[in-house]
């Protein structure tokens, strides 16, 4: 059995998968990867099942080594990465030789980077999933000296790249009207969609706080809301008027008014919003949101088909003869 050894780890490195659906009635939110698209991209690069567990790295990676050669994929927030000191590409798959050291540094954009491993991380499932749920006390962040068991790798390509949608520096999130949108008057809603928000320093896997340019969006006092369901993507407006977007580890119920809900396709961008980055909101209709969702799912289905070899085939290189073709040893694992 292969094992990934953690030589060092940033402060927010956790095992994540697609989370634990089905426990809202017991007060446990689904959890799982903050950027589920990045998890899917990693699985596609390695041609393995999207529900296998990977490492999520909040802001900073760490250094890792494996007890046998390992296929790896790097997705999500781009981070500086190297194998034994030689830089390697992001949004790409690689072979990590036995005993080599993989180092992953700080995020260059976005927040959550992902290290997907051939065969997936094979820690013991709790309630049907391996995802660490920090808010619920299920598992904890990884630390130096720990090691993670890996599942059997059924094999597949390495040395591929995937072009991804740039969702690592903010943008416009499309939202649906939510449970309390009607409590906000038309002018306030219009101002909400005109306003540029900046991500506050306060953010974690439960949610992200946004600071509005200009005044806040708090309701006048006396609005008491009976606690009811909270879903991922809900935009809460607490008393201070600064929106708080709920992420995978949010509580299951709450009594703050919600002005809207971010559609699933735009949640990766919200989760990846780095501190200080700007975001705006635009309402869409339910029909528009359903159309976007159908396209988004189709796009995820095609991820593996869109992976391509990083090294170009010689016949594709027009000026082949201008290249110096033999220069030192080629091992097949070079990444530049």
């Amino acid at each position: 059995m292969s094992v990934l050894q953690i030589l060092s780890a940033g402060p927010g490195v956790t095992v994540q998968d697609l989370g634990r659906p089905g426990h809202i009635a017991s007060g446990l939110s689904r959890g799982g990867a903050a950027d589920r698209l990045a998890l899917a991209e990693g699985a596609a690069l390695l041609r393995q099942a999207p529900d296998l567990a990977a490492l999520e790295m909040a802001g900073f990676g760490g250094s890792f080594t494996a007890t046998s050669p390992l296929r790896i994929a790097l997705t999500g927030a781009p981070m500086a990465a190297a194998i034994d000191g030689a830089p390697i590409a992001w949004h790409a798959s690689h072979l990590l030789p036995e005993g080599a050291t993989l180092t992953i540094g700080g995020a260059r954009a976005g927040v959550y980077g992902y290290l997907t491993l051939g065969g997936g991380i094979d820690t013991a499932p709790v309630l049907g999933a391996r995802a660490v749920h920090l808010a619920a006390g299920l598992g904890s962040v990884l630390a130096a000296g720990q090691s993670l068991p890996l599942g059997p790798d059924s094999g597949g390509p390495v040395g591929e790249v995937l072009s991804v949608q740039d969702r690592f520096q903010g943008g416009t999130a499309r939202i649906l009207a939510s449970l309390q949108t009607d409590l906000f008057d038309a002018e306030t809603l219009a101002r909400f969609t005109r306003t540029c928000f900046c991500r506050d320093a306060r953010a974690n896997r439960q949610g992200v706080r946004l600071l509005p340019e200009g005044e806040g969006f708090g309701l006048s006092s006396g609005q008491s809301i009976l606690s009811e369901i909270i879903t991922k993507g809900d935009i809460q407006i607490p008393g201070d008027g600064a929106p708080y977007i709920l992420l995978p580890e949010a509580q299951t119920t709450g009594g703050y008014p919600r002005i809207g809900t971010v559609i699933p396709a735009d949640l990766p961008m919200l989760a990846q919003l780095p501190a200080g980055a700007a975001v705006r909101f635009a309402f869409v209709t339910l029909d528009q949101a359903l159309e976007i969702e159908a396209k988004d799912r189709a796009s995820r289905q095609s991820l593996a088909a869109r992976c391509r070899p990083r090294l170009r085939a010689p016949e594709d290189i027009a000026d082949l003869l201008s290249y110096q073709l033999i220069s030192g040893m080629i091992t097949g694992t070079e990444d530049l």
């Binding site: 009635a25 017991s26 446990l28 709790v126 006390g137 649906l176 509580q251 299951t252």
Partner: protein, 250 residues
């Protein structure tokens, strides 16, 4: 107890994000609205509709998560409306399969230092307060805030006391706190604005157990008073969950 809302406005079906619908039975907590939510959720579960992926109930509402690309909002809304119309949910008996828990509780002392303050707000002396709270048979109205953590009610009207303005920086796991005619039994150590009146050794959430969530919405709970000595014995007894004994409600 307030009467059930009978106006034509209730219940209401509203969308939640892209993949959810919410059936609201009231916009404030009443016993009939909570019972309607519990009973209606059980009925929805029994229907086992294709495309519905998960259901839950909050204080007075029922949530359904579904796959909107395989089950149209309009179709699920129609199914829900038809089920709503099939009976008077506000006067329906609560669902089957519920349990009655008796959980030993140490009221007051250093373990639960706000009993006297809460009793004062309820207009009772400490002995009356213990007798009142210890005798109350409350219902798990909903679970939330933390995994397996119950909101229980309703307590007698005297216990309609406000939350405190200053947040308690931390109460321990198993803390029994009171406000607004409700108890919360804390699953984990947590800050709270509710007053800490009792302490239990009960664990609401045991991730490694075969049945990790001890309580279910609709269960009934009595927090009966035990002495400090009895409580110490219960704490030492690792075999039971805080000395609690569930029995089926028939």
């Amino acid at each position: 107890m307030t009467t059930a809302p009978q106006s034509l406005e209730w219940p209401r079906i509203v969308p939640v994000g892209l993949d959810g619908l919410l059936v609201r039975f009231a916009d404030r907590l009443t016993e009939p609205a909570n019972r309607a939510a519990l009973t209606f959720r059980a009925a929805v579960e029994d229907e086992d509709w294709s495309g519905v992926e998960e259901t839950s109930s909050a204080l007075t509402s029922v949530y359904l998560r579904f796959d909107p690309l395989h089950l149209r909002h309009a179709d699920l809304t129609a199914q829900l409306q038809s089920l709503l119309d099939s009976r008077d949910w506000y006067n329906a008996p609560p669902p089957q399969g519920r349990r009655f828990w008796r959980i030993p509780t140490l009221y007051g002392t250093d373990a639960a230092p706000q009993l006297a303050e809460a009793a004062g707000l309820a207009g009772l002396d400490v002995q009356q307060a213990i007798a009142d709270l210890s005798a109350a048979r409350t219902r798990v109205l909903t679970l939330g805030f933390a995994p397996g953590q119950p909101y229980l009610g309703e307590l007698p009207p005297a216990w309609d006391i406000p939350r405190q303005e200053v947040i308690n920086p931390q109460v321990s796991a198993g803390a029994l706190v009171v406000a607004l005619r409700q108890f919360v039994l804390f699953a984990n150590a947590s800050p709270t604005g509710w007053r800490h009146v009792g302490q239990t050794a009960f664990r609401c959430f045991m991730p490694e157990a075969p049945d990790p969530f001890a309580l279910r919405a609709g269960d009934e709970v009595q927090f009966y008073a035990v002495s400090a000595e009895e409580y110490a014995n219960i704490q030492r007894d690792g075999a039971s969950n805080g000395g609690a004994k569930p029995e089926a409600i028939r």
